[in-house]
């Protein structure tokens, strides 16, 4: 332990965070959302769109919203419908879409005695997910393990085919992880677009078909080069659980997944997205998908030196949210970032302190370490060395998921060559500094240790405050990123429903059962 942190202080922080998360969890457990329900439908095997390109899962929830009562949960309706029609959920969906079937009658029915009718369909989905898990695990165990951080780059052309070209090119240069960035605005869509897409701004639509296409391309590359390239997308925004479900089915390996990001930066309603997040994390936990949280974003808005503790406090909270969803620490890609103003004296020391701090407090987490973005300018040469310093910190503090900085960050979404240069940069640094962290001890009372202790203290104080005032109030006060949000505003509140006493989510239940079993095995 390089920083001599006080373990009981860390434990205290965890206690505060647990209480904060528990409070929210109480609210979560009493609610469902349109997106949670659509995710269930997707895991019952419902796919496709109607003639107006509306996904069938939306057709069904819209239908229930208009004609019936969503608070009963889709499982209620579909289980009755299967019982009566003997059709598959997919066929039922198609019938609803062409108005040859209505779920309205089941609204007044008692709690469904036919929920088990859903089991074969759920099993099919879980089996597919399990197969994907197995595939990933086999691929990963057959590969030599890296000792330096995994190199993560984004593709964001807007066109999935162009993205594939760029992704494969990056893999050739040594990238371990490819993230397909989403088009601006998708997170506010209350449906998941359908099919392969070629038009996007600052990113590419997250669709099941796009996931498939990219997964296939990366698998082919991996097979040829005896590597496994991890794929990332965003279970985030208004369709969090649905995208988590699609990601689980299509073997994504990581998902950006963090309600706080959506609340703060996308003005998504906090209730909505906390509820969505819970189910999405259970799905990801079940599917062995690493989540990436978005604390790094706070520092793109607030000053990174002054607000370092907000990142740490949020990581503690996100850890507890993940634990409630039965995630193992090895799936918690907690986010942090290298965003201190390069004009600050000793900036490297402060960055190193912060990175070591996260590393030491979350030893098992595959930390997601974000490159400098805010202080990159059009001076691409300077940007390249800002990224090099970031790479040094990443290697020295043993970060896990190493997002590569682009020298053109302030200019455009990355060109193919920008990405290649970034990989060269990181590869050179990883080699040159390979054993550096074993070579040095941080001096007592030095700037690094003092800073780490200070940030931990401030984070603890903040957690105490949040625990006292409650997370909703915290968000209202704009304590994260200086942006204020209230529980009654924001996108997607209309899609939130208090669960009916007869509500049930059989997919969640099955997943939780499996996860609990696993948990017990491990203990």
């Amino acid at each position: 332990m390089k920083l001599n942190l006080n373990p009981s202080q860390i434990k205290q922080c965890r206690n505060h965070a647990e209480k904060i998360a528990s409070n929210i969890q109480t609210m979560i457990d009493q609610h469902t959302t349109v997106s949670v329900e659509r995710a269930i439908l997707r895991l019952l095997g419902i796919d496709g769109v109607n003639s107006l390109d509306v996904p069938l899962v939306n057709v069904i929830t819209d239908h229930i919203l208009e004609e019936a009562e969503l608070s009963l949960g889709v499982a209620h309706y579909i289980s009755y419908a299967i019982h009566e029609t003997k059709l598959t959920p997919q066929k039922i969906a198609e019938r609803i879409a062409n108005n040859t079937l209505s779920l309205k009658p089941y609204k007044e029915n008692p709690k469904s005695p036919y929920i088990e009718n859903l089991n074969p369909y759920i099993d099919t989905a879980l089996k597919q997910i399990n197969t994907q898990k197995q595939h990933r695990q086999d691929a990963l165990t057959s590969m030599p393990k890296k000792t330096t951080p995994d190199l993560y780059v984004i593709v964001a052309t807007g066109n999935i085919y162009e993205d594939i070209e760029q992704a494969i090119s990056a893999a050739h240069k040594g990238a371990d992880i490819i993230a397909v960035i989403r088009t601006t605005g998708q997170s506010l869509l209350d449906f998941v677009p359908y099919g392969a897409t070629t038009e996007g701004f600052g990113g590419t639509m997250a669709t099941q078909e796009n996931f498939k296409l990219m997964r296939k391309a990366l698998d082919e590359f991996g097979k040829k080069h005896h590597r496994y390239i991890k794929l990332v997308n965003y279970a985030s925004g208004l369709c969090m659980p649905e995208i988590a479900a699609i990601g689980a089915l299509e073997r994504l390996d990581m998902m950006l997944n963090d309600s706080l990001y959506g609340i703060i930066f996308r003005d998504i309603n906090m209730k909505r997205t906390f509820i969505d997040q819970y189910f999405s994390r259970v799905i990801s936990a079940y599917a062995d998908i690493i989540i990436n949280t978005g604390e790094d974003n706070y520092l793109t808005t607030s000053d990174a030196f002054e607000h370092a503790h907000t990142v740490l406090a949020s990581q503690f909270i996100n850890e507890q949210f993940a634990l409630k969803a039965k995630m193992k620490p090895s799936l918690m890609g907690l986010g942090h970032a290298f965003e201190i103003d390069p004009e600050l004296e000793n900036s490297f020391l402060y960055e190193l302190a912060q990175a070591e701090l996260s590393r030491e407090i979350f030893p098992e987490a595959p930390l997601k370490y974000m490159p400098p973005t805010k202080h990159l300018s059009g001076d691409i040469f300077k940007g390249f060395i800002q990224n090099a310093l970031f790479n040094i910190v990443a290697v020295t503090s043993h970060q896990s998921i190493h997002l590569l900085g682009m020298l053109t960050e302030a200019i455009h979404t990355p060109f193919m060559s920008d990405r290649a240069l970034a990989i060269d940069n990181a590869t050179y640094i990883a080699k040159a500094f390979k054993d550096f962290s074993n070579e040095i001890t941080y001096n007592d009372n030095g700037i690094i240790k003092t800073r780490a202790h200070q940030v931990l203290n401030e984070a603890e104080n903040l957690l105490v405050t949040i625990n006292e005032e409650g997370l909703f109030k915290t968000l209202e006060k704009g304590r994260f990123a200086g942006i204020s949000r209230t529980p009654i505003q924001g996108k997607g509140l209309k899609g939130v429903f208090t669960k009916h006493p007869n509500y049930t989510n059989p997919v969640l239940n099955q997943m939780l059962k499996a996860l609990k079993k696993e948990e017990n095995h491990e203990n």
């Binding site: 964001a156 807007g158 050739h172 240069k173 601006t184 600052g202 003005d267 793109t300 193919m416 060559s417």
Partner: protein
């Protein structure tokens, strides 16, 4: 006087370029890169670095000497032509010329979620040591935040009887900002409201000349702060409302 780029001798014309070609990396690739650069009127081209990005793409770094020269005195600059005032001058100016507070309404529009730029101009704190409009005496600053669609922005502007509308655009990929900005001007015109406001845009890729081209009153890019914007706005409002020149 005509000038050329400068490496280490006046007018030697030395420039550096880099780009990717969608062809494999090879001597032929290098020659193709050179031939392309020669078409640009650049001679003595040296490919100093050539590297494959994958089997079908290759990246080149080149140095060369440009034939082209330019007389700087022939280059005209479209810049805001009002004087730049300090915060306190602006406050005095408002007090002198208007008998009411001026209302500025702003947003980051369309699907753009970037607020740091508009906040830099509008919020108390400002940016890089320059206070934002909210702190100006005589200015009422209403910041709607981000992801505001054009219709909502106009509605709110009308509702608040705004004098000045401020629009921030950060995402520019595939010119999405141009589309969005053009749509707002069209909306104003369709509603016959173009003359009701001074409309100002800003963002990292916004220049005053682009703003004029798109039909806006002014545009501000990087390293522009609240006082730049307010300087222009108060003077433009004085001309417009008080018919002073």
């Amino acid at each position: 006087m005509k000038i050329r780029p400068y490496g280490d001798t006046l007018h030697d014309g030395k420039i550096q370029l880099s780009f990717t070609l969608p062809i494999p990396c090879s001597l032929h690739g290098e020659e193709t890169a050179k031939a392309l650069v020669k078409k640009m009127g650049i001679h003595d081209v040296h490919v100093v670095h050539a590297t494959p990005l994958n089997d079908n793409y290759s990246f080149y770094i080149l140095y060369g000497t440009t034939h082209h020269e330019i007389d700087p005195s022939t280059v005209s600059v479209t810049d805001v032509d009002t004087d730049t005032l300090t915060k306190s001058d602006i406050e005095d100016y408002i007090e002198q010329h208007f008998n009411r507070p001026l209302i500025f309404i702003g947003a980051s529009t369309g699907t753009d979620a970037h607020t740091v730029g508009i906040d830099a101009i509008m919020n108390m704190k400002g940016y890089a040591g320059h206070y934002g409009l909210e702190r100006y005496k005589g200015i009422k600053a209403i910041n709607l935040g981000s992801q505001i669609d054009n219709e909502t922005l106009l509605e709110e502007a009308v509702k608040h009887q705004a004098d000045v509308i401020l629009i921030s655009q950060t995402v520019t990929q595939k010119d999405v900002h141009i589309q969005n900005l053009t749509a707002f001007i069209e909306l104003l015109e369709a509603e016959n409201k173009r003359d009701d406001f001074i409309v100002i845009i800003g963002g990292p890729r916004i220049t005053h000349s682009l703003a004029k081209e798109l039909g806006y009153d002014a545009g501000f890019g990087p390293k522009k702060y609240a006082f730049d914007v307010a300087s222009f706005a108060v003077q433009a409002l004085n001309i417009k409302l008080n018919k002073e020149v």
